[in-house]
């Protein structure tokens, strides 16, 4: 306490204080007024602008993915459908420790350890509220296992989704192709607006060729979201009461294929354990009845996601199961071109119906000692064209080859579709190779290599040398033989069905210009010889044609993979399997009114008549309904 308090003028002090209080009040009131002015500005003058902004804030447009179109075979059996499956999903924003969660999921074997880096980068890239799929299809055991442990994994849950399912798996794998997760290369190709909600897109086969029909168009709806973009339940007070319009997704179109599931399964069984392909065509309109490549794979694993291990195993498999041999595999057609070549020889006059040639087991060009050997070392003896086809005498064709000439060969074989795209409604087919002088001039860089040698014409006459054809091309060619020159573009998709109205748009067969050989006698001679290949005492494939209830025509082929030296002989047992000959067979039936044409290629199968012909017979039997239990 002060002892000597100064004398204070209380009255003047008080007046001073009151003045200051009044002054402060005025300043305070002015400041308060500026806040009020600001509030009036925001809430009255700019109200509409901010009301709109707040509306935009909470409404998010959410895409609803369309249901992918179904795929049926020619009898309406489902080949590709969409089934609900439980996916394991992770919402990044709800996971506190991502690495820990993923490691613990790997511990209970719900995800693969190898997948963790991939999932991690996926989780860190997209919006934090967008679910990341960890597993596409959970088994029931996995679902129940996870359900117990769910509290340990906040932010991880399983969700029902529609997943593509191929009930017949590998037997239609190469014909249908498969769908897989949309990746960045797909997004460059596809319309991003159409794929906003879609997780899958066609990757190969029909699934990619008809992607635009199968996919459908997405719908959208407007959802109320919170600040983190998470959707709030629709019944969240009246916030969502005034939700604007929505548009339902338009499902994709259903496809009806010309494929016959029975033939697909049968062909798959026939090729089991082998590498090769079978293609069957309806010669009357070009419809593909069967298209199988072996070995195949299970297309379902692409839709449901597979582990890194599984995928590298598929890619590393020596049998190349992902390779579609039916449309991409190219093989020397071998003797299967002899019927076509015979027609060319007759048309060009290089031979006639009575011309005969004596086969000693080999052929030499004039002024040359090089021996072009027949497959039968002791020779076939005296042969006409019919016998040469029936018994597949190489020497006969060698002897007329130079008279036809490589360019005439090219001219006529080209009309059977060799060496050109068939135009099948499926991506990825290979062009094959039909050589000619013109081709050789452009194919080689060295001038010496650009010259066509007479010897090359000789081996071209039995489908060796440069010539390469796909199984699809061979099937297409034999279909043209069956129709006596009428040609069609091969088609897998027969009709497209609008999923809403149910109306089907039938895809009309596309006819191509006829083969320029009008003499019916030539056709019947060659086809008669092909008939005798299968159904005469001397036919190379008589074993396969035995006891048939209908008349059929066929031609075997054996394509060399491995050149046998001039003084050596080919002993199948002595060479390694992958160097053995490819076995080929083409056939059609019935003879006068052809319904089915088949081409079979079995890689390193050895003999065409012994290995491939029975497969063709089984397909025809099944299709024509004479022996449903063939094979």
């Amino acid at each position: 306490m002060r002892l000597l308090a100064p004398i204070k003028d209380h009255h003047s002090e008080r007046r001073l204080f009151v003045r200051r209080v009044v002054l402060s009040s005025i300043i305070g009131f002015l400041l308060c007024s500026s806040v009020v002015a600001r509030l009036v500005q925001l809430q009255v003058f700019d109200h509409e602008l901010f009301a709109e902004k707040s509306q935009g804030n909470r409404i998010r447009i959410e895409a609803m993915p369309p249901t992918r179109g179904l795929i049926f075979d020619r009898k309406g059996r489902v080949l590709a459908e969409n089934l609900p499956a439980y996916q394991l999903e992770l919402i990044p924003e709800q996971v506190a420790d991502l690495d820990d969660t993923l490691n613990r999921l790997a511990e209970i074997k719900l995800i693969d350890k190898e997948d963790i880096p991939r999932i991690r980068s996926l989780s860190l890239s997209g919006p934090r509220f967008k679910p990341v799929t960890l597993r596409f299809r959970l088994s029931e055991a996995e679902i129940s296992n996870f359900a117990i442990q769910r509290p340990r994994f906040p932010g991880v849950d399983f969700q029902p989704r529609l997943v593509r399912r191929y009930p017949h798996g590998e037997s239609v794998a190469h014909a249908l192709g498969y769908v897989g997760a949309v990746d960045t290369t797909d997004l460059a190709r596809l319309d991003p607006a159409a794929y906003v909600g879609s997780a899958h897109t066609g990757k190969t086969g029909i699934e990619i060729s008809f992607e635009s029909e199968l996919h459908g168009s997405p719908g959208y709806r407007q959802v109320v979201t919170n600040a983190r973009g998470r959707q709030v339940p629709p019944d969240f007070r009246e916030l969502s009461a005034s939700l604007p319009e929505r548009e339902s997704p338009l499902p994709g179109a259903n496809l009806y294929l010309s494929l016959d599931l029975d033939l697909q399964i049968l062909a798959t069984q026939a090729l089991r354990g082998r590498r090769g392909a079978i293609v069957a065509i309806n010669p009357e309109n070009g419809e593909i009845l069967a298209l199988v490549s072996a070995p195949a794979f299970d297309p379902n694993i692409f839709a449901t996601g597979m582990s890194t291990d599984e995928f590298s195993a598929l890619q590393a498999d020596a049998g190349q199961p992902l390779f579609n041999r039916a449309v991409r595999g190219t093989y020397p057609p071998g003797s299967t071109i002899k019927p076509m070549l015979s027609l060319a020889a007759l048309e060009t006059g290089a031979t006639n119906l009575t011309h005969r040639n004596f086969c000693r087991g080999f052929y030499t060009l004039p002024h040359s000692t090089h021996r072009y050997r027949d497959w039968k070392p002791q020779g076939h003896g005296d042969m006409d064209l019919h016998d040469a086809i029936t018994q597949s005498c190489d020497v006969y064709f060698y002897s007329i080859s130079t008279a036809i000439g490589i360019d005439q060969m090219h001219y006529y074989l080209d009309q059977f579709g060799l060496g050109q795209y068939t135009g099948i409604d499926m991506v990825g087919e290979h062009q094959g190779l039909l050589p000619s002088r013109e081709w050789k001039r452009h194919a080689f860089r060295e001038r010496a290599d650009q010259v066509w040698f007479p010897g090359e014409t000789v081996i071209a006459s039995i489908g060796q040398g440069y010539m390469l054809a796909t199984p699809l091309q061979l099937a297409n060619a034999v279909a043209t033989l069956a129709t006596r020159g009428k040609r069609f573009e091969p088609r897998i998709v027969a009709a497209i069905e609008d999923p809403l109205t149910g109306t089907r748009k039938i895809i009309a067969p596309k006819q191509l210009p006829d083969v320029e050989i009008d003499n019916e006698v030539y056709w019947e001679t060659v086809i008669g010889a092909m008939h005798d290949v299968m159904q005469s005492d001397k036919g190379t494939a008589r074993a396969a044609g035995r006891d048939a209830a209908y008349e059929m025509a066929g031609k075997s082929g054996t394509a060399q993979v491995f050149s046998v030296g001039q003084d050596e002989s080919y002993e199948a047992d002595e060479i390694e399997e992958h160097l053995r000959d490819h076995a080929l067979f083409i056939a059609f039936a019935p003879l006068g009114n052809p319904k089915i044409a088949v081409a079979v290629v079995v890689e390193n199968g050895g003999s065409g008549s012994g290995v491939a012909a029975p497969m063709a017979r089984a397909i025809m039997d099944r299709y024509l309904g004479v022996n449903p239990n063939a094979l």
Partner: protein, 380 residues
Amino acid sequence: MRFSDTEQLLERKAAPLGNAARIMRRLNIDGKLLGGLLLICGLGLVVLFSAVGEDMDLWLQQCIRLSVAIVGMFVVAQLPPDVLRRWTPWGYGAGLVLLILVLAFGEVGQGAKRWLDLGIRFQPSEIMKLAVPMMAAWYLHDRQLPPKAGHMLIIAVLVIAPTALIAMQPDLGTALLIATAGFLVLVLAGMSFWLMAVLGLMSVPGAMVLWNYFMQDYQKQRVLTLLNPDSDPLGAGYNIIQSKIAIGSGGLFGKGWTNGSQAQLEFLPERQTDFIFAVMGEELGLLGVLSLLGLYLFVVGRGLYIAIQAPDTYARLLAGSISLTFLVYVLVNTAMVTGIVPVVGIPLPLVSFGGTSMVTLMAGFGILMSIHTHRKLLPH
């Protein structure tokens, strides 16, 4: 005195109203101030219920805090101003010591040392919110006003010492408020306008020093964001943008209680604490926020009236400073939420969720009540 005469007249007129006024008088409670405060708190609780997403637990927690604060106010109101004045230097000194202890041993929370655990956890800076204006008023109590330059210098030291200690925690918002409380005492004591002008001019280089040497990056960012909130809409500017959208979309009458999409869908940050004013603006509209501002002005006005009525220099300066500081809280928070000033972490007094500052505020109002109810009805 004129003012007290008027008061006496009013008292006499009011007497027939009944026993309530007499009981309040005996309990040292100012009915008008209490009424204003309870209306603010009630309105605040209504808004808070919506802002916490109708979480009953959180809401009850706040009710309990509020009750504790009001009881605290009643307790403080029983202490006569003379007692408070005699305790002032000791309270101030103890506060300084605690601030130093905080810097030495304090607990870290949200990147700053603010808390001290002495049986109960508390922030010593809260004590200083009252102790600094009390100390300044105490120093000027015996001196002739307006204060001389030397006295003002001493007060400046008394104010700046705790301010600097708090700024070092760092808690710039509280430090500035405490400095403001001290400064307001000087203003009310009659500090010359020339000096204020000079200080105002000096604040420019002062701000530069502050910017370059004291402000943390996040604080600088807040200022920059205010200048251009759209520059980084998802970063620092997000709060201001969302807050403006909330208030603006509320319009005149608001979207209705608990129906603010900005607030309920979590677009609005800190909706229970610093930005609760925006929740109110969105849900109750302009009419709602103007009512609240009106209540605040009533309370401040009543406080200033009490200051004018106060019998001595100490009580006068203290009551005036407490009332004006309360107004500063309201102005800074509302100006921040409406995007007039940078985002500083100052809650809306008596409405925002949280208890520490509420107890201090109510203690301040307890002092006002004490000053008003203990005054002798005789002039000096």
